[in-house]
């Protein structure tokens, strides 16, 4: 099964369950390889529908202090793309949940894009999220990913122009990653006002062609419940990394459980699936 198919399948399954999909971000190698694996397994067991495996980078300019600090710890302990790949391999065994690798562009290029993408796919990754690669920024990489069955998910923000949203939609074969506020990763107390409106408008644009998921700043069940009707999926990042920091895989798993419980939309999915 190709990455895009697997990703689509996970969103569809959540939708027919009457839920928004829950996407859990696990920073690979944090604080150690073993802990990260335990965290990922805990997140899946606690109800995450998709996993994002984060790759630490020396210069994470799209990340706030929580993930940036954790990234430094992971790097110091030997983390990086090879370690993330090992995590993917370990998780893939006998599991259906889509596993997406989230990395900055430079580590992908270091060993050559062809070699890197091929080995990530061989390890079992279903897709890539590259926050510093705008849609259309590397047609070669997009085509390479497509030929290997790796789903690409591009980001849009509140200030993204309609033309760029269309570009991101066209190029995204996994899901469209909506960042509903201007800023870097980091848990916020309140969801940015206008987030639901932005999501609605993007989803209308998407017209079912590709699922739309929102992330950056979500940390509580209340926030998840508030956005669940407006998004096909919700991404939890910094909050999970903070939970790992404060209480290890068990604390993180508990948080996932409480968030997963809040993903219900209260309405069965059939009416929402607008796929042609």
């Amino acid at each position: 099964m190709s990455g895009p198919e697997r990703v689509r399948g996970a969103f569809d399954a959540a939708a027919s369950d009457g839920r928004t999909a829950l996407i859990a971000y696990i920073l690979s190698g944090y604080p150690t390889e073993a802990d990260a694996l335990a965290a990922a397994e805990a997140a899946l067991a606690a109800g995450a529908d998709l996993l994002e495996v984060g790759v630490p980078f020396s210069d994470p300019l799209a990340d706030g202090p929580t993930i940036a600090d954790a990234g430094r710890i992971s790097l110091a302990a030997g983390g990086g793309l090879p370690s993330a790949q090992r995590l993917v391999t370990a998780l893939r065994e006998g599991r259906d949940a889509p596993i997406l690798v989230m990395t900055y562009l430079n580590p992908l290029l270091a060993a050559g894009e062809h070699e890197t993408l091929t080995s990530l796919r061989a390890a079992g990754a279903d897709g890539l999220i590259v926050p510093d690669l705008p849609a259309g920024g590397s047609p070669r990489l997009e085509r390479l990913a497509a030929s290997l069955g790796l789903a690409m998910s591009f980001l849009v923000a509140p200030n993204t122009s309609p033309a760029r949203i269309v570009a991101a939609l066209r190029a995204s074969t996994g899901f469209l990653y909506v960042v509903p506020l201007l800023g870097v990763t980091g848990a916020r107390d309140r969801v940015a006002s206008g987030a639901a409106d932005l999501l609605d408008s993007v989803r209308r644009n998407a017209a079912g062609r590709v699922p739309v998921a929102a992330g950056f700043g979500l940390s509580t069940p209340a926030q998840v419940a508030a956005l669940a009707p407006a998004a096909d999926g919700l991404i939890i990042g910094s909050a999970l990394v903070a939970a790992m920091r404060d209480g290890g895989p068990s604390r993180m798993g508990a948080l996932v459980r409480s968030l997963a419980a809040a993903t219900s939309r209260g309405v069965p999915s059939a009416a929402r699936d607008m796929r042609p």
Binding site: S58, A62, L105, P107, A110, D132, R140, V184
Partner: protein
């Protein structure tokens, strides 16, 4: 191999091309290749060697030998190849055929990074395979006659020429050799293995080797070389090189076996050669007026030609040439003849006092050439198209042997298109130029020379009729011709619409920053053409910054004490600009743009603090809020600058993350911008970052180079021989160098050599780094093999950046920019030296550039003129000077 195996391999190769083309279409590959610098010289290396060369092959299996003990993954191939490299081989052969040889394209990409010339060994059957070879990093590609047939072979040899690759044409028997020679192959591989039966017969191949060598080809013996004795036999038969694979890989120690063969390699007669110049030289020919000569001198042409052939419409008599000679100050004067007698040439040289000759109309060097060549600076031998590449090679080597210093291929109506066959002079020049440096002439003019240079990458371009108007020299056309000839083929001298310089640059940032960058680019494009904006900027330069800054020559006595033999070193005094460094030029320009765009808030990053001070200064002047991000490590080592920023009304925000240095400050500034993008203008301090910053910063700093070029012209009447600047992010370097790119001046960038060459001990991203993406741009970085950026080191905070501006990366890759290093110790010593030598305390950053200039002194001739950018003053560094261990 049995017919069917070869058929299988060819069918598989066709399938691979089709599948690969879906991911990377041919047009995209060609564009990519166009952005690459010239490939390494494969054939030339074999031809010029004075011993038989060894080409060592890396593969995982072969149909005849089965599997070898080489692991999966290109790391295994790289390890094998490095072993070969250590053994002293000349070139590598890398299999990319996956079905029977266990090869992969990734192996080629990885092996190409080692630095040796690399052959793509595969069953290439189409144009795609040829261009892909180049795009993957190969310098030569294998074309098998048996697989291609005469027509396709000729087409692919031409494609290889267009792609800038050498073609190794493989033959097995006399018929195939005839086909190869007919197709004008110059590099021929004689395979002792019969592809139908897989059997090897070295003896049978020897006569074929001899025949190919006698025909003038560079010959490679393939297969069947199992030891030194075999090597001796193929050498005796005329082989210049041996390609060895299986016999190395069968043994337990391939590198060791390779070393044994290298040690046993017999001597051979090296072909005469000339060094390939780093840049295309420009000759303005047919000069016959003072105005024309002045134009050529002002444009910094390399050569000026006086046509003494009486049959030419542009002929001048020796007497007239003698009268014009004194106006030729800078370019080399060349007397141009067509089929002259020795007496004619000698007489003309005597009467005019000229030091160079050009000889056309001969079929090879005239017998008397080596009797007159010795005292001459320049001897240009002209070959005439149409001519086969092999014949031209023979002729070229004969000219060189007889004393020629330059070669030119002259053809009527030089075609600038792709070339439909080997008849087009441009195609011949292109292929020939891979082996010996050769210039082109015939039909060149200001309009077509840029394309011709990009196409043929010639050593020299020569025009005469193209520089005329109304029957006389046209100064305008002459100037345009010289400038257009020097436009960088890889686009390193100007940004394209994708924000790239060559293959570097671009815009790799989170989507949230795209709207801001689009707005910035649009606003900048309008502002820089707006006369009011330019006038206001000029006024601020004059009244606020204190421009123009002077150029000042270091006292001759001081230079003599450092081994100088009379060369002059001019310092461009950016230390005298307001705030004490060149940073102000950029800060004032960007702040003015911020004001124009209505952004109330400005943020900046800073390393040494100079840019932070400049930004705070400009914001105070223009009434903008200013926040400066500075790493805690830098705050500690540059305290006076922090105080200055605060006094100027800026808020300094310490950044403790990471190492607390410039890159961490840059990361934090970018994060701030992501979060506050609507009301914030980011004043980026160097020529790095996402498009449009590198282009904008270079434009704002160019005032340095423009002033210096005019000032030196007034002082010495010409362009300097070299422009030297320190390179951190690159803004002062690109600022002083950009106005000189289209001249003959050498451009020398001096990076921080820190305390050594190990990763993390220096900040030499150009000299020691590798390509990658940082802070929005594809550029050269100090990083580890996993793509994690490594903290650089330099005693000077301003050079302590792990990346470099993408335009400098492109200029370095194209060879236009020479890259050297100065160590911490050299910079510290030079700071003290300059202070005592002429009362100027340079910033530690600038001291790197001065140090490199001083190192050049003993080699420079007495009339050399060197321009050094003194990018800042050193008051801020007194604490470091005191504390530094020496």
């Amino acid at each position: 191999m049995p017919r069917s195996i070869l058929d299988d391999l060819l069918a598989s190769a066709r399938r691979r091309s089709r599948a690969d083309a879906r991911i990377a279409p041919l047009a995209e590959l060609r564009r990519e290749v166009g952005r690459l610098p010239a490939a390494r010289r494969f054939e030339a290396a074999l031809r010029r060697a004075d011993r038989v060369s060894l080409i060592a092959e890396a593969k995982r299996a072969s149909p005849s030998a089965g599997a070898f003990d080489v692991g999966a993954g290109s790391a295994a191939i790289v390890e094998l190849a490095r072993g070969y490299a250590g053994a002293g081989i000349t070139a590598l052969s890398i299999l990319t055929e996956p079905t029977r040889f266990g090869g992969s394209d990734d192996d080629l990409v990885a092996a190409a990074r080692i630095g040796l010339p690399v052959l793509r060994k595969d069953f290439v059957v189409d144009r795609y395979g040829v261009w892909q070879a180049r795009a993957l990093g190969a310098d030569a590609v294998l074309l098998i006659v048996r697989a291609l047939g005469a027509q396709l072979l000729a087409r692919l040899i031409d494609e290889a020429g267009q792609a800038g690759l050498d073609a190794l044409v493989e033959v097995h028997d006399a018929d195939e050799l005839a086909v190869a020679l007919d197709a004008d192959a110059t590099l021929i591989g004689v395979n002792a293995r019969d592809l139908a039966t897989l059997s090897v017969d070295l003896d049978a191949s020897l006569p074929l080797l001899r025949r190919a060598a006698d025909a003038g080809a560079t010959v490679v013996a393939e297969s069947g070389i199992t030891g030194p004795a075999d090597l001796g036999r193929v050498a005796e038969a005329g082989a210049a090189a041996a390609l060895v694979g299986t016999s190395l890989l069968r043994g337990a120690d391939p590198a060791g076996s390779a070393a044994a063969l290298v040690r046993a390699a017999p001597r051979r007669a090296a072909a005469p050669s000339l060094p390939h110049p780093p840049r295309t030289a420009v000759k303005a020919c047919g000069m016959r007026s003072v105005a024309g000569i002045r134009a050529a001198v002002a444009a910094d042409a390399d050569f000026i030609g006086f046509v003494l052939d009486p049959r030419s419409p542009r002929a001048v008599a020796p007497k007239r040439a003698a009268e014009l000679m004194p106006s030729v100050r800078g370019p080399q004067p060349v007397l141009v003849f067509r089929s002259p007698s020795r007496k004619e040439v000698a007489e003309a040289l005597r009467r005019t006092g000229g030091g160079g000759v050009q000889l056309a109309g001969f079929d090879g060097p005239p017998p008397w050439l080596n009797q007159i060549a010795a005292p001459l600076e320049t001897v240009i031998g002209v070959m005439h198209a149409p001519i086969s590449v092999r014949a031209a090679l023979r002729s070229a080597e004969a000219w060189i042997g007889a004393g020629a210093t330059h070669l030119v291929l002259e053809g009527a109506a030089v075609s600038t298109g792709g070339g439909s066959g080997s008849g087009a002079p441009i195609a011949i020049a292109r292929r020939l130029g891979r082996i010996v440096p050769v210039g082109i002439a015939g039909g060149l003019d200001p309009a077509n020379v840029t394309r011709a240079v990009a196409n043929a990458r010639p050593a020299l371009v020569d025009a005469a009729s193209g520089l005329e108007r109304d029957g006389g020299n046209d100064p305008g056309r002459i100037g345009a011709f010289v400038r257009n000839a020097r436009r960088e083929p890889a686009g390193a001298d100007r940004v394209d619409r994708h924000g790239r310089f060559g293959r570097f640059g671009g815009r790799f940032v989170p989507e949230t920053l795209i709207p801001a960058l689009d707005d910035l680019e649009a606003a900048w494009n309008v502002a820089r053409r707006d006369a009011r904006f330019r006038d206001e900027l000029r006024r601020l330069h004059r009244e606020f910054v204190g421009r123009p800054t002077p150029v000042f020559p270091i006292p001759a006595a001081a230079l003599a004490a450092r081994g100088g033999r009379g060369a002059s070193v001019w310092l461009k005094r950016e230390d005298l600009a307001h705030t004490g460094a060149h940073k102000i030029n950029n800060a004032v320009g960007q702040a003015l743009l911020a004001q124009r765009m209505g952004k109330p808030r400005v943020i900046a990053e800073t390393g040494a603090g100079q840019h932070g001070v400049a930004a705070a200064t400009a914001c105070a002047l223009l009434g903008l809020d200013c926040v400066v991000y500075m790493g805690t490590t830098d705050i500690e080592r540059q305290a006076p600058n922090v105080r200055r920023m605060e006094l100027l009304g800026a808020e300094v925000r310490p950044v403790a993350a990471g190492n607390g240095t410039l890159r961490d400050a840059l990361n934090e500034a970018l994060r701030d911008w992501v979060a506050n993008v609507e009301e914030t203008f980011y004043v980026l301090g160097s020529a790095a970052g996402p498009h449009p910053y590198p282009e904008m910063v270079a434009s704002l700093q160019e005032v340095i180079g423009r002033e210096a070029r005019a000032q030196l012209h007034a002082a010495i009447g010409r362009v300097p021989d070299a422009v030297v600047a320190c390179v951190g992010g690159g803004s002062n370097a690109i600022g002083i160098m950009r106005p000189f790119i289209d001249t003959a001046a050498r451009l020398i960038g001096v990076e921080a050599g820190g305390r050594g060459e190990a990763l993390g001990d220096n900040a030499a991203s150009l000299g020691l780094g590798t390509p990658g993406v940082l802070h929005g741009a594809f550029t050269m970085l100090t990083q580890d093999a996993a793509g994690q950026v490594v903290e650089p080191h330099s005693v000077s905070a301003g050079l302590d950046y792990p990346g470099v501006g993408p335009q400098l990366a492109a200029l370095a890759e194209s060879g236009r920019l020479e890259v050297v290093r100065a160590t911490d110790a050299e910079a510290l010593d030079t700071t003290e030296w300059l202070a005592r030598a002429c009362g100027i305390i340079p910033a530690l950053e600038s001291a790197h550039a001065v140090a490199a200039a001083l190192r050049m002194l003993p080699e420079l001739p007495a009339d050399a003129q060197i321009l050094v950018n003194l990018s800042g003053r050193g008051d801020k560094d007194l604490g470091i000077l005191d504390r530094a261990p020496r």
